[in-house]
């Protein structure tokens, strides 16, 4: 009855297209506009950082000053005036809440409205309503039946609260904001920060390194299976403010962690910049599963407003038999520039990338992955599903490479694009580099529209055109949907319907 379920979901679609577009009226502390060494010092001081951290930021800032904005992606936007932004915004009410009780009720309300209850006693079934079932239940990639999710809520530049910390602590899992980690576990941060994405990696990563304000930190000790899903919820609220968060996840030997990330922002006429960095480190036999549902404000139908999402995400399979799996559902943002990647350094390590990227209206997506095979007997798998509608452009860009010493590397890539309407574009730009004959690479890509036969079949069974499209698209992306933790699946299916609204007829 999977199909009926989807139809119901599609029928439920809200009338307002972007339902997360409200604004929270809360007083913020803003850094003065502009970017300079002083601003970097200001941010570092605000966070009471140690000297080495400030030095690290300043180094990044100096590198950034000499870098040029990349132009190779298939996206176009007016030049960003990096001096016309605030680089720090924090809700004024509670500078550093120790517990949930101290958190400004307005913030709690905001998250509740977004479907992210921050009260531990509530069933934290992520974004799914209690009792709501998904057709994909039972076959999902999620590991936790309990539905417990620990949340790190990031509001503009700061982490407002992290739930379930005590329970996690019992297992030795550290889950906190990166600012707190800098205070409480400086040695871990110092050792790993920038070890996967160095300060000068690229223009946006350098910018992030200089001015990042907060983000999440996770450390899972050897042999520990993290007892619940961890998640971060990013909310951009303040005007003319860039959000630059930084996430660092370390899975020590033989550990496992599944991590989810969600993002929304208010509807605004001006575009907002988001330049995040995520670093994952998997040691021997460790596994990290990182899932994202990105639903930043995409701008209006004419392309006004929306988030510029320039993100650097990279995982380092450092140990033998380690595994990193990226799953992403990208429906939001005016511009998406994002390539979650895996460095397969450890022998027998494995990288995976599962992606759904939907673009509508005037959205521009340039996203994909890099699988860098360095160790022996490494394998990777890429499944990418791009759906372009409206007047959007949707590009898959990927790299699969095998180093000379990456004996027996294996890659399989399947990259499918679907076009809905004749005003959009779907593009595929894969790079394949094999430097050893023992590597076996297989890449396949297709581009097509929704088949007339499928549409006719669905409509002859009474579905409206829009329902039929949502249904078929849900089928098209099914392989990727199944990789998502259960908590995200129902919402994601709904999101797909919403994202494609107005794409037909």
């Amino acid at each position: 009855m999977a199909d009926l379920e989807t139809i119901e979901l599609v029928k439920d679609i809200d009338v307002d297209k972007y339902k997360y577009g409200f604004e929270t009226d809360i007083e913020s502390e803003l850094a003065p506009k502009g970017l300079s060494e002083d601003i970097v010092r200001y941010i570092s001081a605000k966070k009471n950082e140690p000297q080495w951290m400030l030095d690290w930021r300043l180094e990044a800032f100096r590198v950034w000053q000499n870098m040029e904005e990349p132009t190779w992606a298939k996206v176009s936007y007016p030049k960003i005036d990096f001096q016309d932004l605030h680089y720090y915004a924090a809700p004024k009410s509670t500078p550093a809440p120790k517990s949930l009780d101290e958190v400004d009720p307005k913030l709690l309300e905001t998250y509740a409205k977004l479907g992210i209850p921050l009260k531990e006693q509530e069933i934290l079934a992520g974004v799914r309503k209690q009792g709501e079932k998904s057709e994909l239940d039972g076959e999902s990639g999620g590991e936790y039946a309990s539905g417990k999710v620990a949340v790190d809520a990031v509001f503009d530049s700061v982490s407002v609260v992290t739930t379930f910390k005590d329970e996690l602590k019992k297992h030795g899992v550290i889950f906190c904001s990166i600012s707190e980690a800098l205070r409480e576990h400086p040695e871990l941060v110092k050792q790993h920060l920038g070890s996967v994405v160095p300060q000068g990696d690229n223009f946006y990563a350098a910018l992030n390194a200089a001015v990042f304000s907060d983000g999440s930190f996770v450390y899972v000790p050897p042999g520990v299976r993290c007892p619940m899903e961890l998640s971060t919820y990013f909310r951009m609220n303040a005007k003319n403010t860039g959000q630059f968060e930084r996430t660092l996840i370390i899975a020590d030997k033989g550990s496992y962690v599944s991590y989810l990330e969600g993002c929304t922002a208010p509807t605004r006429d001006e575009s907002q910049l988001h330049a995040a960095v995520v670093e994952l480190i998997a040691l021997e036999d460790a596994e990290i599963k990182y899932s994202t549902v990105q639903n930043w404000y995409p701008g209006d139908a004419e392309g006004k407003g929306g988030i510029y999402n320039f993100v650097t995400k990279r995982g380092d399979c450092r140990g033998a038999h380690s595994k990193i799996s990226w799953t992403q559902v990208e429906t939001g943002s005016a511009i998406t520039w994002k390539y979650p990647s895996c460095i397969l350094r450890g022998d027998h390590s494995r990288g995976e990338f599962y992606s759904i990227a939907i673009s509508n209206g005037r959205q521009q997506v340039d996203s994909g992955t890099k699988m860098i095979h360095l160790g022996k007997n490494t394998s990777s798998r890429i499944i990418s599903k791009g759906i372009a509608a409206g007047r959007s452009d949707n590009t898959y860009r990927g790299l699969v490479s095998a180093h000379r010493k990456a004996l027996n590397a294996r890659n399989f890539t399947q990259c499918d694009s679907l076009l809905i309407g004749d005003k959009c574009g779907a593009h595929t730009v894969p790079y394949i580099e094999s430097k050893t004959s023992t590597a076996q690479f297989e890449h396949e890509a297709t581009t097509s529209k929704i088949s007339d036969d499928q549409m006719f079949y669905c409509m002859s069974r009474g579905l409206s055109e829009e329902e039929a499209v949502a249904l078929i698209v849900n089928g098209f992306v099914r392989d990727v949907l199944q990789q998502l933790p259960m908590e995200f699946m129902a919402e994601t299916q709904k999101l797909i319907g919403i994202s494609l609204e107005g794409s037909v007829g």
């Binding site: 076009l419 593009h427 894969p430 394949i432 094999s434 076996q440 297989e442 396949e444």
Partner: protein, 386 residues
């Protein structure tokens, strides 16, 4: 970018600046770094015996054809069986690197015009001999009138160290057909740069095949544009590379109008330290509905140090299309090897059989049986010399 870099000796003598790997199109073939010898345009006299020997070394020497002989970039009236014709002065794609080098070298060649069905294939044999580090510029135009058909072979042979830069323009009128076969079997020290620029009117048909097996450094561009509906193009190629050979093909197939079909099939065999590259881009413009565009590139790496890079690209702006690409890279299939050995075929023979079969799949796209056989014979010889 490159304008800021000091000129290399090669750039000085050619009189152009060469692209480096920071230019996306030249990412894997850094021409500025790879072309080091001071190649220069020279007037070179060649010995008759050398010319005849090289002409006879064409893989297609046994094919019954009308021949045109180009020696060091100059039309050889004495040996050619067809007139030179008048080449159009206007060069398309003037800002392309290879076209640009051609202009600098004052490239010349022949103009072939086919009004009816040509009875025999025309083979243009390009011979390079005689002078060290000469830069040869060649430029041909092939035009086929409405509903006419022709088979044109371009063969490149030579000895010593030289640079051969060649541009071929093909224009096909409505319903015209050309079968073009190119064999790049240049001297092992040579540099070969080429660009074929083809336009197809409605219902025209292009069958294009390139064997890439000579030269130390090879870069071949192809730009194909559909101008009329229901046209059909097939572009195939085989690489047989060894030693430190480097070959890079970059094809752009532009579906500017609806209802056209394009197929690309490249089979690339790399032995020793050779490096093969295939870049193919299929563009489907807005309104080019009902486009059927498929591209596949397959690499067989025979030695651990061999390399293959691919960038099969799709850029699609029309929705009612069926487009796709496939790319694979790896060594010989172990199951195939076992099956052959279990029938008593020793390993080296089994390998040769499989390599020949792999490479030969692209030959199958050629209609002319004699030409196909010549290519199989060439592949066999190549394998025997491995």
């Amino acid at each position: 970018m490159s304008a800021l870099l000091p000129r290399t000796a090669a750039e000085d003598s050619l009189g152009v600046s060469l692209p480096n790997r920071r230019s996306e199109e030249w990412k894997w073939t850094d021409l500025r770094r790879l072309v080091t010898a001071p190649y220069a345009r020279k007037i070179v006299a060649a010995r008759d015996a050398d010319i005849d020997r090289l002409v006879a070394s064409s893989p297609f020497a046994s094919v019954k054809a009308k021949r045109i002989i180009i020696v060091n970039g100059v039309y050889d009236a004495k040996r050619s069986q067809l007139p030179r014709g008048e080449i159009n002065a206007v060069v398309p794609l003037a800002d392309d690197v290879i076209v640009g080098i051609g202009s600098k070298l004052e490239a010349s060649g022949v103009s072939l015009v086919f009004d009816g069905n040509a009875d025999l294939p025309v083979e243009i044999v390009h011979v390079a001999t005689g002078a060290a580090q000469q830069a040869i510029g060649v430029r041909h135009t092939i035009s086929v009138a409405a509903n006419a058909a022709a088979t044109v072979i371009e063969t490149f042979v030579g000895e010593g160290d030289y640079l051969c830069n060649t541009v071929t323009e093909i224009s096909l009128a409505e319903g015209a057909r050309v079968d073009r076969i190119k064999a790049e079997v240049e001297s092992p020290e040579a540099t070969h740069l080429s660009h074929v620029i083809a336009t197809l009117a409605a219902t025209a048909m292009l069958r294009d095949f390139t064997l890439t097996s000579g030269a130390a450094l090879n870069r071949q561009n192809g730009t194909l544009t559909f101008l009329g509906e229901n046209a059909d193009a097939q572009i195939a190629g085989t690489y047989l590379l060894k030693g430190r050979q480097h070959a890079d093909t970059r094809l752009v197939v532009d579906h500017a109008v609806p209802h056209c079909t394009s197929r690309e099939l490249f089979k690339c065999v790399m032995d020793d330290n050779a490096r093969g590259i295939f870049q193919g881009k299929v563009i489907v413009r807005p309104d080019a509905q009902k486009t059927d565009g498929k591209q596949s590139s397959h690499a067989l790496l025979l030695s651990e140090a061999a390399e293959f890079d691919a960038k099969p690209e799709l850029e699609i702006y029309a929705d009612d299309v069926v487009c796709g690409h496939g790319a694979t890279a790896g060594d010989l299939n172990h199951d195939h090897m076992f099956y052959l050995k279990s029938r008593g075929i020793p390993e080296p023979d089994a390998k040769s059989l499989l390599i020949a079969a792999f490479a030969g799949e692209a030959f199958e796209t050629i209609e002319h049986e004699g030409i196909r056989e010549c290519l199989s014979a060439y592949a066999e010889g190549w394998l025997a010399r491995r």
